[in-house]
Structure formats: C-alpha cells, structure tokens
C-alpha cells in the first residue's frame, strides 16, 4: 500500500539506491555544506575586517585636524598633530599618475593581443604579463631602490628637468631630485605593477564585444584599426573604465614598493622628482612605533580605515563597470 513514489526533491533528489554507509556519508556531507553558512565566509571575513577597524577607530578624538596637513608628529602625545593631508596628496598623485600611464600602455597591449597579433605570440605575451603579476612587490622595490634610483637621480631626472622644465611639475628645485627616490620612481614602478591587472581586464572587455558587430564593421570594408576605434572601443568602454578604477585601487593600496621608492617625506612635493609619502606606506613604516605610542596606533587605525573605505568604493565602481568578475579568470 505504501508504494514508493517519486522522490520529494523531483529529479535532483537523492538516489533511492544508496547503501546505509553511503546514506550516512551523504547526510553528513549535505549537512556540512548546506547546514553551515560557508558561502557567507567571504562576507564574514570582509565584515570582520571592516568591523575590527571601526571598533578600533575613534575618529571623534581627532576632529578636523585629521583632515588637514597639520603635521607635527614628534613626540606623539599632547601637542602633536596628525593630518592625513600630505599622505592623501601623495597617494592621490602616485595612484592617478600610475593609473593614467598604465591605461595607455595596457590599452595598447590589449588591442595588440586581441586584434593584431597571431595566436601564438599573443599567448606568449599574455604569459609574460601574467608573470609580471606574480613578481612580489618587494622585489620591484629592491630593484627600484638599488638599480633604478641611482640612474633616475643621476641621469634621467636631471635630463627630464632640462628638457621638460616648461611642463608644470617637471621643473622644481634641483635638490628635489636627490638620490633618485621620489614620486617619479614610485609611479614608474607602480605602473609596471598594475599593468597586468588593467591589461587583463581590458583584454577581456575587448574580447567580449559581440562578433556580429565586429564582423559587420569588417564586412563594410573598415580596416582592423577602424573597427577598434569605432566598434570595439566604444562597446568596451565600460570595461575599460572599470579597469581604470581597479588599477587605481591597486595602486593606492600598494605599500611596500612605494615605501621603498617614494622618499618617505611628508610634504607638498616640490616637483615630480621630489619625495612624498602615501597613506599605505606610512602605515607600513610606522606600525613598529605604534607599539610604543598608543596615539600613533590610533592614527594608523584611522589611516587604515580611510584607505579601506577608498578601496572598497573604488572596487565597487570598478566591478560594477566590468560586470563583476564571473566570466573572467580568477587571475585578476
């Protein structure tokens, strides 16, 4: 009378012919995966990071001086002031410049790979740019510090200053060049560091342009370049701007290489060769002293929180524009 009907779960219900041990295993594994909120773990981790920093933060203790360029940090205690101004300026200048340079270069590379180059070379070049993504930032840092900085200080920057003195930012006092560390060197290395990400995203967005649109252009007699200009670039606009944002986010969050190369001077940089400082680099350099000075610990919490909010905002916009990262490889 108890005819076994079709399983309640429809077609995707558990099979009816499992042996008892298999049933136990089945139960356990379903429980393990379904019963616990594992999918939420990335969310929980993210919320944990934001939460801990918010908990540690005490913005009201600082007031407006935190948002200024008041900078009188020794000794940390009463009377000293911590404005994020100089660091924010340094972060913005380096990240924006690196982003602009990286955009030009990666757009050129992405167009080459998608449109112009045959399969084999483009695959090899992709491998190399991916390799670039894996090089540790501290390795870029030591190369920049030991190899590039003397070259920048003795040759490149003096001649740039002579040649481009009429460009705002490229003139400035001679002392600003110093040993070669400074904004220009930091921007140079940052650009190389963010190029793999921006190139990968632009590559995918140029590739995602519908074939029908591309072929319509070619069939009408347009050259490859005209199709790029009139069809691919306009249709991939969102992805390209998204890459800009994500590259900016990466650049503003980079601490190690920047700290090694930017010259670590909190000031309004006198020129593009001059020393500066960024929020991320300052956190990295000063956390050791934070042990001794509770006030400095507090300041660094606020700095980290501000950096976190900036990068979340930038990443939200960037990922919205690139349409999320589901179709892309996890490499980006």
């Amino acid at each position: 009378m108890d005819e076994p009907g079709p399983p309640a779960g429809g077609f995707i219900g558990p099979a009816q012919t499992l042996s008892p041990p298999e049933k136990v295993k089945e139960r356990l594994s379903w429980r393990m995966l379904l019963g616990s909120p594992v999918a939420l773990l990335p969310m929980i981790l993210l919320a944990g990071v934001v939460g801990v920093l918010l908990y540690a933060s005490s913005l009201h203790n600082f007031g407006w001086s935190l948002w200024s360029t008041d900078w009188n940090w020794i000794p940390p205690g009463p009377g000293s002031s911590y404005g994020i101004g100089y660091f924010a300026i340094g972060s913005l200048i380096t990240a924006v410049l690196a982003m602009l340079l990286a955009t030009v270069l990666s757009l050129a590379m992405a167009i080459s790979i998608v449109v112009y180059l045959p399969t084999a070379p483009s695959r090899i070049l992709t491998v190399f740019t991916d390799l670039l993504a894996g090089i540790p930032s501290v390795v870029f840092g030591i190369w920049g510090f030991v190899v590039l900085a003397p070259y920048f200080g003795e040759h490149l920057e003096p001649s740039l200053r002579d040649a481009l003195y009429w460009l705002p930012g490229f003139d400035g006092p001679a002392y600003a060049i110093g040993g070669g560390t400074g904004i220009l060197l930091a921007v140079f290395v940052l650009t190389i560091m963010i190029i793999p990400i921006t190139t990968a995203i632009m590559r995918e967005s140029l590739r995602a342009v519908p074939h029908s649109a591309v072929e319509a252009g070619l069939a009408l007699g347009a050259t490859r370049w005209e199709v790029v200009r009139r069809v691919r670039l306009p249709m991939a606009r969102a992805g390209i701007f998204g890459a800009l944002f994500l590259g900016f986010g990466r650049a503003i969050g980079e601490s190690v290489a920047v700290s090694m190369l930017i010259g670590a001077t909190p000031q309004i940089p006198p020129s593009i060769y001059g020393g500066s400082y960024t929020i991320a680099a300052y956190i990295l350099d000063q956390q050791d002293s934070a042990f001794a000075y509770p006030l400095l610990l507090q300041v660094l919490v606020e700095f980290a929180l501000i950096l976190l909010l900036i990068s979340i905002a930038v990443n939200v916009v960037g990922n919205r524009l690139t349409g999320g990262s589901r179709e892309r490889s996890p490499r980006e």
Binding site: P42, A108, P136, V139, G141, I142, M260, V316
Partner: protein, 303 residues
C-alpha cells in the same frame, strides 16, 4: 572653375579619391599594429632588466650555504627564512583552501541566487582590500589585542585571509563552468547532488581550482606588508607558532637599504629576491601547464 559648376565629382574622381583614402587607411591600420607593439617593449624591457640585475647581484655569491646556513651577523644564508616562509605558507594555505573551497562550492552549487550574488560581491571586495589594511587588521587583532606580540600564527591567519578570495573565486568559477549537460546527465542518471559533485564535477573543476590555489600561493608567497605587521622578524627558526620568524620577503624588506659595503646584508636581500622570482616562475609554469591540460580535457569532454 567651370568644371566645379557642372558636377561635384565624376565617378572617376571618386574612385581616385577612394583609392587614395584606402591607401591611407591601410597604412594607418598597419602602422597602428606596430606602434601598439611598442607598449610591450615598454613593459617587458623593465621586466627583463629587473630579472637581469637581480640575478647579477645574487648569483655570484649564491651557494649551497645560502640555502642551508642561518643568517649570522651580517652574513650567512637564508635557511631560517626559507623554513619560516614555508611554515607561514602552510598555515595560510590550509586556512585559505579550507574556507575558499568550501564557500566556493557552496556558492556555485547550493546557494540561492541572491546569496550567491552577494557572496561573489563580498569575494571580490575582499580581494580588493589592500594588503596593508589586512595587515593592520591582523596587527591590531592578533598582535596587540590578544597580547601575543609578533607571532607566526598571526601572520599565517592574516595571509590566509589575503589568499581566500583568489581560491574562492577560482573554485566558484570552476564549478559554475562545469558543462551543463554533464550536470544534467549525472542528475538524470539518479546521482545525488553530492555524488554529482564528487564524481563528475570535481574532476572537471579540479584543474581550475588547483591553478587558483597555486596562484594564491604565489601571491601569498610574495606578500610583504601583512607579514611585516604581524610576524615580526627573527633570524632563527621559531620553536612555537607564537614566536616571530624570518621569511623571504622580510629579508628583502629588512636588508634592502643597507649600504652594499656593509657586510653581506644587501646580497642576502638580493638572494632572497632571486629565490622568490624562481619560485614564482615555477608556480606560473605549473599554472600554465594545468590550464593547458584543462583546455585539452574540456575539449575532449565537449567532443
């Protein structure tokens, strides 16, 4: 002048004009192909220069001792730092693989659509959190708040959190991209969802997942900021996980700005950089190899 009054252009004029334009357009097209290639020179030349200089500074003094000796004074080798790197990486990989793989499978297979969408957003936001901020989070929570001081465990946990989003996304992608007919075939044959996951989806998803794990390991291996803030520094192998340790990126960070005449410090930094580059290249080759195999496998599956 009288000609222009009669008609704008004869068909012959148009053809001449179009030929001229065509030549110009084709030249622009070809020229752009070459101009754009300059970008590769601009990017790959620095890469080559970096690899050249780091090898040039590291290799002349590179010996077996570099790998087997501890750092003593301003000399010695990188032994304790290599061990430290492996301890940290083992800890963080365990944490990140556990969290990343479980939540990735859940997101791809089980989660309701909205939960999955939200989890994915959280995943790439987590990937976008700057390493230095993660480091400060670890510093505040695991070093200061717990009162543990700098320790290896804090570094492993912090680095693990850093690695989670890469593994999570790779796993999610791998299981989402299992061909639909494989899934429906398995389920139509009466497989449970778990059986489908283990016997059908896992073998197909494995290569993508593995390359995500190797990628996360390569990135974790090269991170400095989260470790500087949590692990501290020591030139001996830690006896417990609550002691600080040395690690390869830290060797560069700590020794890079010593004058090259001051003992062996800067050379040690370059040797560490050289080792890191070699490991990263090996991991990259491994990832490429796996990706290639995956492509073949999928091609086979899809006929």
């Amino acid at each position: 002048m009288a000609v222009s009054e009669s008609k704008a252009a004869t068909p012959a004029d148009l053809v001449t004009y179009a030929r001229g334009r065509l030549l110009f357009r084709v030249i622009v097209d070809k020229a752009m192909g070459w101009v754009l290639l300059l970008a590769f020179v601009a990017v790959l030349f620095p890469l080559a220069d970096m690899i050249y200089w780091i090898s040039a500074k590291a290799l002349p003094t590179f010996s077996v001792g570099t790998l087997t000796l501890d750092q003593v004074g301003t000399g010695g080798g990188l032994h304790s730092m290599i061990i430290g790197t492996f301890i940290i990486l083992a800890l963080s990989t365990t944490i990140a693989v556990g969290i990343g793989v479980l939540s990735g499978i859940y997101t791809a297979e089980f989660a309701p659509r909205r939960v999955a969408a939200a989890a994915r957003v959280a995943g790439y936001l987590l990937a976008g959190v700057p390493a230095i901020v993660l480091g400060y989070f670890g510093f505040y929570l695991l070093v200061i708040y717990t009162g543990w001081d700098y320790n290896t465990l804090a570094g492993g946990i912090t680095l693990g959190i850093f690695m989670v989003p890469f593994i999570y996304r790779a796993t999610d992608l791998a299981f989402t991209n299992v061909p639909r007919d494989q899934r429906e075939g398995a389920l139509a044959m009466g497989a449970s969802r778990f059986q489908y996951l283990r016997r059908v989806a896992l073998p197909i998803a494995m290569p993508t997942m593995l390359s995500g794990i190797f990628l996360a390991m390569a990135l974790g291996l090269g991170e400095t900021a989260p470790l500087v803030l949590t692990v501290g520094w020591s030139n001996t192998i830690p006896q417990t996980l609550l002691q600080p340790t040395g690690y390869l990126t830290g060797a560069i960070w700590n020794f890079y700005d010593f004058p090259s005449t001051y003992g062996h410090f800067q050379t040690l930094a370059f040797q560490a950089a050289f080792l890191l580059i070699v490991i990263v290249i090996v991991l990259n080759v491994l990832i490429q190899f796996i990706a290639e195999r995956y492509r073949r496998k999928l091609r086979g599956l899809l006929g």
